[in-house]
Symmetry: C2
Subunit: 265 residues, 2 copies
DNA sequence: CGGTTCATTGAGATATCTCAATGGTCGTGG
DNA sequence: CCACGACCATTGAGATATCTCAATGAACCG
């Protein structure tokens, strides 16, 4: 399995072989979690720093009345809790969408890594700040865009983030989220998500069949969703070894974890 | 002027005299900004790390159609951009609400401070993580609560955050936000904010006169707003010198910056 | 092959928005 | 000290996005 974290960090800065090796070493300890299980729960004390090696997960907060709000989608290569152990306890939960492979990194190990490899430390800072920026944009998206644009905006974001780690194929990617989960992420109702999806299809902006999303006209979808990718901070990598914005080869896999989802035929 | 940052950090950890002195020294360089001006603008390269010494400000993002969304309220003692210089450019703007006194801290100076004083470094980590947690809660608030609760939730949050730095008096505080700014923060319309305010007043939960907000029944308001303060991470300070949750004395000031706003009579 | 989960559709209810007008407050200049 | 203008708060009425409840249909799994 390719290391998606390394792939992502190189959008920010080139990493030496030694850096890569150190990152590989730190993420060697792995754990499997099934689909739709909790990785961490609100109120828990903090454990090790976790990283999504493969599969999809999400942060969410459960409301008293049973509804929940997903506040972030975690994709392969995403870190769950950089240095979050500074806080006493979790204020939200993390659950899986698909089966997930985690790397667990002991806090002192991470500190040592950051201490000995400043480039890696800076790259991890970037990863965290970019995640915060995404969080801000979610606030804007939910507050100010109407259903159709909100949904389209999420699809655009996921496309760019997945492309950064090589998990897109052309203009499509595997989308394991159910409509109820899209609703939980967007602050909408399952029913309304369904209708907005139909609208996006009717406008020939996307297709969605068999858990595979295809963006038929990315510029048009971005326009319709008021999407501007700057907040992802994937734009101009300041790497010397920069390659094109799109990975040259299609990704090796678009299945999630074990073969839980089918691709489009 | 008391140093609100120090006051806030001590909710997380006790600071030695030397720590306090170092923080004081780092925030010595100051700048004044008028009300409703931009401190930083989207697209700009990053400058020094900024801290709000006094006054209110906000992060916001401007949408193409002229509307804007405020994504965070910055209160005295809040840091604007901890280590954000890692990113190439700002993805949002920061503007003042009231006249603001800023401290500007050069990046290398901050690095040196964090390097030489690990307690301060950890405390600044806490401050950043708590801010991210607030950001997540804003997403939940806007996504899942209806107007009245949304407004009430914001009032509760501001109360707790201001109390942590000693800027409340009993159950009230100065609220310099206009209704249009409340609307921009909550993803509502100015008109609707007005009606929700009336509803909160009619239910005897708050009064708001002359830029002074009084919470008439905090537990009731928190209940009505589905507010739980855990996400603020101000709950259990692990300080040895912990005092009660409410500062013993009323704050020295509840005017913003220069005497721009009147208190309640 | 039957059951469970998920997606789709309809119709009525409600929160919020839009547009437009009126009223209040405050600072400024005459 | 008053009058004016600018800005902000308030109210009304109709429009629209989204929700709720409920039912049906499709897909998938054991």
């Amino acid at each position: 399995m390719p290391n998606f974290l390394i792939a992502k960090l190189q959008w920010f800065t080139p990493l030496s072989d030694a850096d890569r090796l150190a990152l590989h070493g730190a993420t060697a300890k792995r754990r499997q979690v099934g689909a739709r299980e909790d990785i961490a729960h609100e109120g828990q004390a903090h454990g090790p720093v976790r990283m999504i090696l493969d599969g999809w997960a999400c942060r969410y907060r459960q409301l008293d009345d049973g509804r929940r709000q997903i506040t972030a989608i975690l994709l392969p290569g995403d870190l769950c809790d950089t240095h979050v152990n500074v806080l006493c306890e979790m204020d939200h939960s993390i659950g899986t969408i698909t089966p997930v492979t985690l790397a667990e990194i002991a806090r002192d190990r991470l500190d040592a890594l950051v201490g000995s490899r400043p480039i890696v430390g800076r790259a991890l800072w970037w990863e965290m700040l970019a995640a915060v920026s995404v969080q801000r944009e979610w606030t804007v998206n939910i507050a100010r865009r109407e259903g159709i644009a909100r949904l389209g905006h999420l699809f655009c974001e996921l496309f760019h983030r997945l492309r950064a780690v090589g998990l897109t194929r052309d203009f499509g990617y595997g989308l394991p989220l159910r409509q109820s989960e899209l609703a939980d992420a967007l602050g909408l109702t399952e029913v309304h998500v369904n209708r907005c999806l139909r609208a996006l299809r009717d406008r020939d902006l996307i297709t969605l069949r068999g858990r595979w999303l295809t963006i038929l006209d990315l510029p048009a979808l971005e326009r319709a969703s008021l999407f501007r990718p700057n907040y992802l901070h994937l734009g101009r990598r300041n790497a010397a070894n920069a390659v094109g914005p799109v990975p040259a080869r299609p990704p090796e896999t678009y299945r999630y974890g074990s073969s839980h989802y089918q691709s489009a035929r």
